[in-house]
Amino acid sequence: MTTKYTKDHEYIRVEGDVGIVGITDYAQQQLGDVVFVDLPAKGKKVAKGAEAAVVESVKAASEIYAPVSGEVVEVNGALEAAPATVNEDSAGAGWFLKLKLADKSELDGLMSEAEYEAYLKTIS
């Protein structure tokens, strides 16, 4: 199991040929209180870098991009009733969706945890 990161602060935790996508702890802090997550329909195919979901705070809406290409096989329906989970546990229960990976080699272009940590230092 590996976790990779994007410059837009999404993570993808890969288990076999499925990746669990969410936003990083840094991202949830920047957004503030999450009030709504607009999730895609199951079965939707998304290309790497395409809009996969929208996360909303009171004052802003941010697009969440697919870190890699794939098909949405599951979404976290629990967020509808409890969007605050994204703030409380972004890396765990606050995940957004599961992607069946179309091309595992796309993962190579993403950052490792250490690289992401270093990236955060450059932007803060």
């Binding site: 705070s57 004052k59 809406a61």
Partner: protein
């Protein structure tokens, strides 16, 4: 000039504090050739009395509804507005406030909006209503775009009983947005087969009830057909008082309801400002245009109201917003809320019954005039009559005799010979027996 408090000395003192010699130094960014050296060619300022004379003279050239037996409807209706309504909407704190961006000092607005939303939702039988649109017609345009967003389909079907001006607004906006709209043929009898036009590419069906010709429409079978095809039923009304007596669109299965709220609390105003009512099922709320007031608590735990779900809106979502609408119809929305609070369901029902009874009385009287025929089987307070000649010409003759008889259908559907003899006649609580007698007497005289 009475509205400008500064004296010449004040202006000089301020210029000195700013550190410039003259006012035009502050306009330095304006290209010199575009900066006007003197006032434009329009009259000099004027006192209150002079302005009253000028505008009073223009007003005097019009014939107000209250000065004549008045039967004009077709989208705007002459109703009585209680004195309380006009007094309250002129309270400074309502009249001169703005969109409640600072809710701590705008609870008056956010609370009445919450009451308005509840009134509209309950009146229409829907889950949720917004804080109003500009008017019914622009609301209809927005509803069709909303249906496209929800169904991801681009084909709307408009009933032939939809107010032709509403249909024009919808078609214009949809065409610009790249959607296609099918408008059914003019349906004076109210018996078109809309269900046959619904298929798996249909985003929505737009039906007005009572329709523009006054017919009452049973929306239930259309709602069922829409549901089966995955399309949305958009129910439209132009006469809000009808909801006191006619089954609500929500109870008949509508997905989105848009209506004109002018009849309750708002005057005729030659067509505006009015107040658009907009309601939908709960599951569509995030695709709704317009402002929403929601309940919350303050730092001390006391109940309060704030604008909410703003991420749908243009100031946050910019080019991805559900609409470009910025505000609502504020004061008209307040007028509606106050009048509805006075009426309550009991008063609204009574008012609707009076309207209906008056209209039935007039319809029976007109049916007795030789050569005149009321076309409707069902109606609320408005119906269509067939005259033995051109309705517009007859209307004009009636106007000369001091009776404003109705709206010739040719005014709404120009160039269609089949409707040239049709007149839409509205009859509300303001019309007396004497008004109706005047109508019949003068109609007979001009035929």
């Amino acid at each position: 000039m009475r509205y400008l408090p500064h004296s010449t000395e004040d202006r000089e003192a301020i210029l000195a504090r700013i550190g410039v010699a003259k006012i035009d130094d502050l306009f330095a960014n304006v290209p010199a050739k575009a900066l006007l050296k003197k006032p434009v060619d329009l009259p000099h300022h004027a006192g209150e009395l002079e302005v009253e004379r000028t505008l009073g003279a223009l007003a005097a050239k019009n014939v107000p509804a209250s000065s004549a037996p008045f039967f004009v409807g077709a989208g705007a209706y002459k109703h009585h507005v209680p004195a309380t309504v006009d007094h309250l909407i002129q309270r400074s704190e309502f009249l001169t406030s703005y969109t409640p961006y600072q809710p701590e000092i705008a609870q008056g607005t956010t609370q009445y909006l919450f009451e308005f939303q509840t009134q509209v939702a309950n009146l229409t039988g829907m889950d949720v209503a917004n804080a109003s649109m500009y008017d019914g017609s622009t609301g209809a345009g927005e509803a069709v775009l909303m249906a496209h967003r929800i169904t991801r389909r681009k084909n709307a079907v408009l009933s032939g009983g939809l107010h032709p001006h509403y249909a024009e607004v919808v078609r214009g906006l949809s065409a610009m947005a790249g959607d296609s709209v099918t408008t059914m043929p003019v349906d004076v009898a109210g018996n078109e087969d809309l269900i046959a036009r619904i298929d798996e590419t249909t985003s929505c069906v737009v039906v007005q009830n009572p329709d523009v010709f006054g017919n009452l429409r049973d929306l239930r079978p259309i709602a069922k057909a829409c549901e089966k095809a995955g399309a949305l039923l958009i129910a439209v009304f132009t006469e809000a008082v009808s909801l006191g007596l006619v089954e609500s669109p929500g109870a008949m299965g509508a997905d989105i309801v848009v209506g004109e709220g002018q009849s309750i609390g708002v005057g005729l105003n030659f067509g505006g400002p009015y107040v658009g009512l907009f309601a939908c099922k709960q599951k569509y709320v995030r695709q709704m245009p317009g402002r929403l007031s929601g309940e919350t608590v303050d730092a001390e735990g006391r109940r309060g109201f704030v604008l909410t779900l703003s991420t749908r809106e243009q100031h946050i979502r910019r080019d991805k917003a559900t609409s470009n609408i910025c505000t609502n119809s504020g004061l008209c929305c307040l007028a509606f809320t106050i009048h509805m609070t006075l009426l309550g369901q009991k008063g609204l029902k009574q008012l609707a019954e009076i309207n209906h009874a008056n209209a039935v009385t007039l319809a029976d009287m007109l049916d007795g005039v030789k050569g005149v025929k009321v076309l409707n089987e069902t109606f609320f307070n408005e119906f269509t009559v067939k005259l033995p000649g051109d309705a517009a010409a007859i209307c004009e003759k009636m106007a000369k005799k001091g009776v404003l008889a109705g709206v010739p259908v040719s005014r709404l559907i120009p160039g269609d010979k089949k409707v040239a003899n049709l007149l839409i006649v509205a009859n509300t609580e303001v019309n007396t027996d004497a008004d109706r007698e005047m109508f019949v007497k003068n109609l007979k005289a001009v035929l």
